[in-house]
């Protein structure tokens, strides 16, 4: 039996929010299921792929997180959201030079947005750490 699901944008946003809540509540499996579901509904969305990566990041699995962020960049090569998270993951792997280059790229792509602000703060952190 085949199911046809056509969720509205509001419903997808609600699923996304639920995923972030599960992730922050450390219900990682539920968060992964939700974000994987959103990715299946929106296969071209870089945001769902990045969100899925952040779950692995929260579990300290930085390599898998990086795989998802790179996949997000394949879907949208100009995704500042993906670049900022990629930079963050490399920073937490203590690969500071790679981190810096991706964070700079995020700032270039979205100079005034929250993503750039996140990248700037991460660059400050990178400069503070030995």
């Amino acid at each position: 039996m085949t199911w046809t699901i056509n969720p509205s944008n509001d419903e997808i946003a609600m699923l996304m929010e639920a995923g972030f809540i599960c992730r922050d509540a450390r219900k990682f499996q539920e968060a992964r299921d939700l974000f994987a579901g959103i990715r299946a509904l929106l296969p071209k969305s870089d945001a769902a792929e990045v969100a899925l990566g952040t779950v692995f990041f929260h579990q300290s699995d930085f390599d898998t997180a990086i795989t998802h962020y790179r996949r997000a960049l394949e879907k949208n090569p100009r995704s500042a959201y993906a670049y900022a998270h990629l930079g963050e993951a490399y920073l937490f792997k203590l690969e500071k030079e790679k981190a810096r280059s991706y964070l700079q790229k995020a700032i270039e792509l979205d100079a005034r947005g929250n993503t750039a602000s996140m990248a700037r703060h991460l660059l400050t952190l990178a400069d503070s750490v030995r």
Binding site: M16, Y81, L91, N114, T124, R130
Partner: protein, 114 residues
């Protein structure tokens, strides 16, 4: 009138080897800083993994700075004040990152709606 001898006015310095070593060897992070670094690291780890490592390093002695030496008490207080300022900046930076990460997540949700 008798003039006092200099030795009776200025006490002769009495240092043992341990005192000299304490002032001349590079300083290790204090016990308090190590503990604070550990606590802050654990707290940050609960929110963002890895943040604890970075914050712990930052506070627990990872900052490049003066390494002791022949410092007087006022210089040591100045150093302590600088360390406290560095800690405060570290907390502010981490707090700002957590806030802005949340804002980014909210942006992603909002973008899904449009």
């Amino acid at each position: 009138m008798s003039i006092p001898k200099p030795e009776s006015i200025i006490p002769s310095p009495q240092f043992n080897l341990a005192d000299i070593l304490q002032y001349t060897e590079p300083k290790q992070p204090g016990r308090f800083r190590r503990i604070l670094g550990g606590i802050a690291g654990s707290a940050a780890n609960a929110v963002v993994p890895g943040m604890g490592t970075l914050l712990g390093d930052l506070i627990g002695g990872g900052i490049a700075g003066p390494t002791g030496g022949l410092l007087g008490p006022s210089a040591q207080f100045l150093q302590l004040q600088q360390q406290m300022e560095i800690e405060q900046r570290a907390f502010e930076t981490v707090s700002a990152i957590l806030k802005v990460r949340h804002d980014c997540a909210m942006d992603a949700i909002r973008n899904m709606k449009s």
